[in-house]
Amino acid sequence: MQYLTDEEVLKLEEKANEIRQSVIEMLVEAGSGHTAGPLDMADIFTLLYFEVLKHNPKDPFWADRDRLVLSNGHICPILYATMAHAGYFPVEELLTLRKFGSRLQGHPHKEMLPGVETSSGPLGSGLSQAIGMALAERMSNPYTSKYVYCLLGDGELNCGQIWEALMLGGKERLHNLIAIVDRNGIQIDGYTEDVMPLEPLKEKFESFNWDVQEVDGHNMRAVNDAIGKAQAVYSQPSIIIAHTIPSKGVDVFERDFRWHGNPPGLGPEDRVKRSDQAKVALEKLRTLAGHVRNTDFE
């Protein structure tokens, strides 16, 4: 685990802000797609791709890379934007999102874009795939230091398959598997606790024999520390519940579940009219008016 200095945290936060701006630009250009999840996971994706993951953007099939499985494929704008900023492909290509002939499919396709570890979109199957990867890796290399990271949405915890996977992960004691749940509290039809209550979530995961941590998903240092601790757990798989604010970074979009599945320009109008949504979002990010920075050390 690597301790992050204040300077490093600041750099990561600035990078996350750039990536959020790319997400807005992509969504506006595409005219469809999801806003809340990609914005709220920007900090974690930035931390993973710029600090945590062992990977090589110039050699995406490098055999010894860590594996990152995105289970909730609908937040792929943040995957694509982070990959582009990390050097997997030109940032300009981000504007092809969801367009005919693009490698940036509406939901990710493994075979189209090197670096995408699995196709996803239909919810609930990523954790099983991550378990398969971790199991296979452990078979071939019992002392592996290669980690499989699985990013999940909280809404998809409704899926029965997730709990099949949680049982198997606990049974197999997969120390090389770290799942991160985007606990933003929303899904397409409303707030998670109204649609299908998940709480007490930590206790649920613990009862399936996983090591569980809860963390502020916008605090780079806290998430980095949690991942470091998860790497150190050797007898259990780990799950980090990352509490995030939906649409984090654009305060006028934040916490509103109606931003789950709409791009700027097609979102709810009670705070910003549609014609201004893209402009306002980019302005907020550029001026930090959405309070992107986490201020724990200031």
Partner: protein, 329 residues
């Protein structure tokens, strides 16, 4: 009437050996496992009845019990394939791929994952368990998935060879196997190649009427017996075994259609979506042919013995003979 040398010489005798073709899968998986260390097996709490136990005993470190979770099993296998393993996943066909269809489509086929799906206890021949356990839609739901290979072995030897061939084939494969004792149709030396059909019985050329019967899976036995009876009763009947329903051996099917007046398809499956559909879809475009599709006609199964059910749904050899005669007019 000309009988292929690849057939069991004892096939038409009353004392023909009968064993479940799932045994062939079990032996084939173990043999494939000996040849290739990348092969792993996953099972959803049906290890003995799917015959995965043979592999599990030989290679305990390469066998994974995932519990009754077929959806997760499909995706776990996809993840293992992504790391270079060759997973075989097994359960009853009704549950895998029946319950796990979307996971098979997205995480296995769309990902291009090298996973083999074994659907056991397929067809109505599973009998007394009743309709809930009788998978008669599985070939249909697998056949329509791009990239999926679909195999229905006719007996224990073909099941073994198909399993070994599937292990060597790169890409997703579905193999349906059955529970009951069924006649040994072929020999240990009968060739099997994915995508290749073979004519096992050639019609008696002295007869004027010519019917080509195409069968897949263990019901092929009844197709062969029916073919023999038809030849003996004045109708020239040939019988083709289609072990691989997808990709279809279109060249062989086209030639078979050319040589006969009508085609009859026989399968232990809904007549929609399976072998009969595949043949009709192909021939309608290149050589319009009258086709009688025998199978389950848009119904669910029920409890009963294998013999009772095959007779009730009109796919035992007597029914095939009778319906073929009617169809020829």
């Amino acid at each position: 009437m000309e009988i292929s040398q690849h057939l069991n010489p004892n096939l038409f005798s009353q004392t023909v050996d009968a064993v479940p073709n799932r045994n062939g899968f079990g032996d084939g998986l173990k043999e494939a496992g000996e040849q290739d260390a990348r092969i792993v097996a996953l099972c959803a709490d049906l290890t003995a009845s799917t015959k995965v136990d043979v592999f599990a005993k030989a290679f305990p470190e390469r066998y994974f019990q995932v519990g009754i979770g077929e959806q997760s099993m499909a995706s776990v296998a996809s993840g293992m394939a992504a790391m270079g393993k060759i997973p075989f996943i097994a359960s009853y066909a009704m549950f895998s791929p029946g319950r796990s269809w979307e996971q098979v489509r997205t995480t296995i086929a769309y990902n291009g994952s090298n996973v083999k799906i074994i659907g056991a206890h397929s067809g109505i021949s599973v009998g007394p368990d009743g309709a809930t356990h009788q998978a008669i839609e599985d070939m249909g739901i697998m056949r329509i998935i791009p990239r999926m290979t679909v195999i229905a072995p006719c007996d224990v030897h073909e099941a073994k060879r198909a399993t070994i061939a599937a292990a060597k084939h790169v890409g997703p494969v579905y193999i349906r196997i059955a529970r009951e004792n069924t006649p040994v149709i072929t020999t240990p030396g009968t060739p099997f190649e994915i995508g290749k059909a073979e004519v096992y019985l050639k019609r008696d050329k002295q007869h004027v009427k010519k019917v080509g019967i195409i069968g897949t899976g263990t019901i092929l036995y009844h197709a062969l017996v029916a073919g023999k009876k038809l030849n003996e009763g004045g109708i020239g009947a040939s019988v083709m075994n289609i072990g691989t329903v997808k990709p279809l051996d279109t060249e062989a099917v086209r030639a078979f259609a050319d040589e006969h007046d009508v085609i009859v398809t026989v399968e232990e499956h809904q007549i929609m979506g399976g072998l009969g559909s595949a043949i009709a879809e192909f021939l309608s475009g290149v050589r319009p042919t009258r086709i009688l599709r025998l199978g389950i006609n848009d119904q669910f199964g029920q409890s009963g013995t294998m013999e009772e059910l095959l007779s009730h749904y009109g796919i035992d050899n007597e029914s095939i003979v009778e319906k073929t005669r009617e169809f020829l007019g």
